[in-house]
Symmetry: C2
Subunit: 126 residues, 2 copies
DNA sequence: TATAATAATAGTAACAATTATCATTATTGA
DNA sequence: TCAATAATGATAATTGTTACTATTATTATA
């Protein structure tokens, strides 16, 4: 179901998600919020994250293991550290024309694209 | 553990995976192989797919839901149909220099990259 | 070619991530 | 203020995957 009524829990989830830039999982968000809202439920976090990502208000990112969420809905790229599994933003300029070009190599229509770099972050290199 | 000894099950898994180009999940492979090898175990399929993708012999692809596997280990791109969740190959030419360029936008080293187009396949459009 | 070492298997249990259920609570519009 | 119902918290159920263990298959060597 789509969002219709307002809720404190959803506000808190959005606030937390937009303040941080570490692309937390549902459980990481839940644990952080649980301190301020002690009777928040993990199911509520999942339900809201799914509604919001269905809306296009936030992004859901699947890279193996638990899904990550990104409060920045504008398309941008990511890097996954294969050591610590953390997900980082990559400010590589958006490839504006890649979807148009890719149409020639696809049977269907394209609505978006993702690029994920895999590597090792500085924290894990040292 | 890495592959050392030979096994019929692993051969059958590789054969099946390389013959088809629909990026099956572990369970889809299992069901297809179960006909020829009635006492194949799902755990065996998972174990081998993981060993082979750790090797770099095959690719594991996470796009939400169950992981998909690709017998083509050469880097190439994919399209995910948001309707039927099927994964297609995209023969878009490899962006050879993107990893080198991306280094400037990343704190760490890059070892590979993936591009996934999201869209609707022809089967789902009609 | 027999044998010993051990990797790989089948079958099953356990686990992790996510979704569904449902009685209760909160929001909203009349 | 009240009725309608969306959203919640708590928990059960489901799904995808990994771990465990006794047995079987592979392989190197005597």
């Amino acid at each position: 179901m789509a969002v219709t009524k307002h809720s404190k829990q959803r506000d808190a989830i959005m606030d937390e998600l937009c303040q941080r830039h570490d692309h937390p999982t549902a459980e990481e968000l839940y644990l952080a919020l649980k301190m301020k809202m002690p009777n928040l439920s993990l199911g509520t976090v999942y339900r809201n994250l799914n509604m919001l990502s269905d809306d296009g208000t936030i992004q859901k990112i699947s890279v193996g293991g638990a899904d990550h969420f990104d409060g920045n809905a504008n398309n941008h790229y990511h890097m996954l550290c294969s050591e610590c599994k953390r997900l980082y933003d990559v400010t590589y300029p958006l490839l504006e024309d890649i979807e148009k070009k890719a149409v020639n190599f696809v049977d269907g229509k394209i609505t978006s694209h993702t690029i994920t770099f895999i590597g090792v972050c500085n924290g894990c290199l040292h």
